[in-house]
């Protein structure tokens, strides 16, 4: 046990409280806002006590936004579904492509190997706008504009490098002798990959997949440029609340709560894997 003075403990408590307030208060406030009408939200000074309303959520779920200047159709639920579809498909494809590639980069030395790996990583350095303009031109030529396939493809720019580089580190951590031992025991290369390499890198694969999912989910600019309302995810869909008759803060807040919930739930569920996965080195056989 370390001994700490009372002052030190109080100081530490205050600091922790400050940090918690700094990070969690906005979330708490958004949560409150989602149950308020626009009038309540814009009242000065703001009030903690108000009459909660579910109108924001009902507007989102029914897709009818009633404003002073008339009724507006919003495709929020469609957007939410698009987010789920796009992110899931993008991560699934990135895993199918990225995990074997990560294994190859970890295990085999081949010509230009490091260069290819670095090029893939550099996709993460470049600002997306840099590639978007030429990409949108290509996509029009190829007929990929405003398609799920096109978006999922572009999302690989986000998901693939992440998965490749995180999982590669995991495969490098697996002693090659463990795989050799499995092969000497009579198993083929493929069965060794499935039976030994993947299970041993599983925490890393789970963590990388989860991070990639969150990054895809939060992406805004690709879908903004490359898709129309019909195919856009929630991040872009939230723009619909900036209407001619004003900004619908209540609906925006409710939309944020709804769209953050899946990733939050996923992160909480997979927290174990994330912590396990991002703190390396549980593999000393």
């Amino acid at each position: 046990m370390e001994h700490t003075s009372l002052a030190e403990r109080i100081f530490r408590g205050v600091l922790v409280a400050l940090i918690v307030v700094f990070f969690l208060f906005p979330i708490f406030w958004i949560f409150l806002m989602s149950f308020q009408t626009n009038e309540d939200i814009l009242r000065i000074p703001p009030r903690i006590f108000f009459e909660p309303t579910l109108s924001n959520y009902s507007a989102l779920i029914t897709g009818k936004l009633v404003t002073v200047s008339g009724t507006l159709d919003i495709a929020f639920m469609k957007n939410l579904w698009n987010s789920v579809l796009l992110s899931t498909a993008a991560v699934a494809i990135a895993l199918i492509l990225g995990v074997p590639a990560a294994y190859a980069f970890a295990r085999y030395k081949f010509r230009l190997g490091e260069d290819i790996a670095f090029t893939l990583l550099s996709f993460r350095f470049a600002p997306p706008l840099l590639v978007l303009l030429p990409l949108s031109l290509y996509f029009q030529q190829l007929g990929l504009t405003d398609t799920y396939a096109g978006l999922i493809w572009v999302y690989q720019l986000i998901a693939l490098p992440l998965i490749l580089w995180i999982v590669r580190g995991y495969f490098e951590d697996v002693p090659p002798d463990i795989e050799y031992a499995y092969r000497v025991a009579g198993h083929s290369w493929w069965r060794t990959f499935i039976g030994v390499a993947i299970p041993l890198a599983r925490p890393g694969i789970a963590a990388a997949g989860l991070l990639a999912f969150i990054f895809c989910w939060n992406n805004f600019v690709f879908a903004l440029i490359l898709a129309s309302a019909d195919k856009q995810p929630v991040t872009v869909g939230a723009l619909a609340f900036v209407t001619a008759s004003g900004i619908q803060y209540g609906q925006i807040a409710a939309a944020i709560v709804l769209s953050a919930t899946p990733t939050l739930a996923l992160a909480l569920y997979a927290q174990r894997y994330l912590v396990e996965g991002l703190s390396l080195g549980a593999l000393k056989g």
């Binding site: 002798d177 050799y180 031992a181 025991a185």
Partner: protein, 364 residues
Amino acid sequence: MAHLELQAVSKQFKTGKVLDGVSLEAERGEIICIFGPSGSGKTLLLRLIAGVEQPDEGVILLGGHDVTDNAPETRGVGMAFQNFALFPHMSAFDNVASALTARRTPPDVIRAKVEKVAALLKISHVLQHAPQELSNGQKQRTGLARALVADPKFLLLDDPLRNVDAKLRYEMRLELPALLKASGSTVLYVTQDYKEAMALGDRIAVLLDGVFAQIANPAEVYRQPATLSVARLFGEPTINLIPIEPLASPDALKIGVGGAWLSFPPSYAHAVGKSCVLGLRPESIVVETVNSRESFAVDVVAVTPLNEKTLLLLRTADGREILASEAGTDEAPRRRGPAYARFDPSAVLLFDAASGRRVPPQSA
């Protein structure tokens, strides 16, 4: 035809050549101990045979077939890795069974075989444990069990007793030969412990500087080592080496040891005038209090009683220090001080000083 054969196998890494044209032939069921200092390429040799590494040159034949380019899973070898290489995500049972699951063995046969080999290696009680819950000795025996369980035709064991505690190591050293013989496999057994090599091997292959310095049965390696380096590696304490130059004299050969001229067997006449190194095993030196024509004066500097034997550190008249060992007796403890030493001329070894090769006696 040899059951396992290496033909001029070479392997080079960036740091240099590790194996330089190694050749070896093993008969079916033979146990060959590959012995050498660490870093001599013993492990690499096993890895080449298992197919885990590829040789730069040379051919590897298993059961008469060239397998040099074949994948590891097709070679039918069992291997115990030096660093265990157990599968951390499987229980000890599944680790051992992995060699059988690949061969589509029915589950009840797998269970029976795993339990049998586990009982032999005394790991039955830990079969359900994960590898990280095992002690080093248990890990090593699990690895050994995994290599043995499928009755492979070729068994490659990479220092399997290294991490086993001393008591168990002695037990295993007694039990392993029978176990290996019963398996009927052709065994290559890598070790750094010369006693283990002596105890287990039908033959010992001494790997030095990338080639086999000698491949012979244990007694021959000990009594007729091919080179100085081999002689130095076997025996404890190590062999005494004294530079000499045999001289011809009217009645016999003479050598100068410790300031005295001693007669030397005439079968070494061909070594007259060459600069040589005399190899004297500590146990072939007799230390007495009386002088004789075959003795040279020594000073007993230190006495180390080890119960079963006593080690004596002797200093000769010309200042050289040599070690002698005597079988332990109940006699009064030996005193330090002046004494006389002699050796059995038939037990000496003579090496060429320049090449390090042994100079064998010639029958007259």
